[in-house]
């Protein structure tokens, strides 16, 4: 069964401090193989096992690097112009009329 919770990491906003990797109670976070645009090695979601506890979100010192979704299945789907496919979307936190793609984290 696919995991219903997800952690989204904006790799280019991450400074690689490692707080989330250390804090994750189920060890589903590690560091990416590549460096991001700032030259840090960003945190990376292993792909499954997230429980949606939010620990990584609250330990992260950056404002927008981590987003946590509990129950992805409840999200609406729509077309993302960046990924060019049908994806799950979350509401844009500042403008409820707009949607953000949970795959690429860009506004659709």
């Amino acid at each position: 069964m696919a995991t219903i919770n997800r952690v989204l990491i904006q790799a280019d906003d991450c400074k690689g401090c490692g707080f989330c990797v250390e804090a994750c109670p189920v060890n589903v976070l590690d560091f990416a193989d590549n460096l991001n645009v700032m030259g840090y090695r960003p945190a990376h979601y292993k792909g499954e096992g997230c429980t949606g506890c939010g620990t990584c979100f609250y330990t992260c010192p950056e404002t927008s690097a981590i987003t946590v979704i509990r129950n992805v299945d409840g999200l609406e789907t729509g077309h993302c112009s960046h990924c060019n496919k049908t994806v799950k979307q979350i509401p844009d936190y500042r403008d409820s009329d707009k949607k953000i793609c949970i795959e690429c984290l860009n506004p659709c």
Binding site: C17, R70, V72
Partner: protein, 473 residues
Amino acid sequence: MKTTILQKPASFYDEFVLKGGSQLKSTHYCPGCGHGILHKLIAEAISDFNIQDRTVLISPVGCSVFAYYYFDVGNIQAAHGRAPAVATGYKRANPDSIMISYQGDGDLAAIGTNEILHAANRGEQMTVFFVNNAIYGMTGGQMAPTTLIGQKSTTTPRGRTLQNEGYPMKMAEIIAILEAPVYVERVMLTDAKNIARTRKAVRKALKIQIDKKGFSFVEVLSACPTGWKMTPVNSKKWMTDVLSKHFELGVKKDISEDREPVIVMHPEPHFKEYHELLDIKSLADKITDVKLPALKPILDEVKIAGFGGQGVLSMGYALANIAMGHNYQVSWLPSYGPEMRGGTANCSVKVSDQRIGSPIIDNPTVLVAMNKPSLIRFEEDVQPGGIILYDSGLIDTPPTRKDVTVIGIQATEEADKLGSRKIANMIMLGAYAKSSGYLLENYILQALPLIIKNKAFHEMNDKAFKLGMRLAK
């Protein structure tokens, strides 16, 4: 199962345009800095309590000086340590605002100790987040008041010692022993449990202010991996193992249950009351038989200068009172200082038919110079087309300005002949009244005894004023 999303709170700007650069979504803080975590907790609380449109966050001096890059609320950046003073003023002028004073340890516990203690002692309605990282982070890791004994910094390279630097300041405990603060807690930004406690404390402190219960203070132990020269993960370990052993966590004071909401009253100023308090209602009440002329559109800026004892300040005081009796707006700003003890003295009087914004005068329209140093000091400042009244008996070098009206009066000598050198100022007042032309002579003659109350001078003042009027012709 309900879908929940934990994401960037809406109280942050979407893009940090003020920060500039190419990375408009990331903060300027170092990796692992505690500021970002606390920012997020505060922003989340602001959004959840729906107070974004009335919150004012005061940034300190320190790395978080740029907190206004991130928070989409009202922002003020205060001088080092002065955030509680600024918050006090803002809150009193706008009682419905939510004031957040965000301060570091160098800011709050060193240069701003005075401000925070008195704001706390007054029980100002504000929330203070005190970020304690035991070091001066922004300036490069110098010793702070909260640096631990033995902790190395750039200014204590062998470690802080008791003999030289004393004990680290425990601000939460110091604030907690005051009577006014409602809620004081120390928390720490390390693991999930402690961050959850911090989140709770942040929300409680803000709720206390929203409920108008008074002053709340949250000390947040926060990592500075750069200043401590540790990795972010090791810095958290050090906080758990060392820092929190000295700065004990927990609630230091909480009387929020017992405290009733404090509604601060801000009565509208009533001019009559002020007039009574300052004893300046007498002119308007006592002189009723003189028909006052209509107000002229003027802004007279009078600088009166001389040496102590020449009656410089009392001349300005009399002039301001008389002009106020004529229904003009006035200000009188004496220069108090060592000159009160016999050196040079001066005062500034503004008279206008409009409300006066500032009592300070840079370029007077009228200069009354009673001695030579005063003339030298202020002559160049007089506005073109203005008037210089000077004591030509005492000043042997007349003003050289050609673009002003210069009137020389031997005020001190004439005053001597009338019986006292002390009334030279009244001669000058007469000369001013004559040359400016908007004050009524018979009104002033009635007013002078009411202003200068010493009876021995009443008759002399009368003569001196009339003489001044004549001499200014």
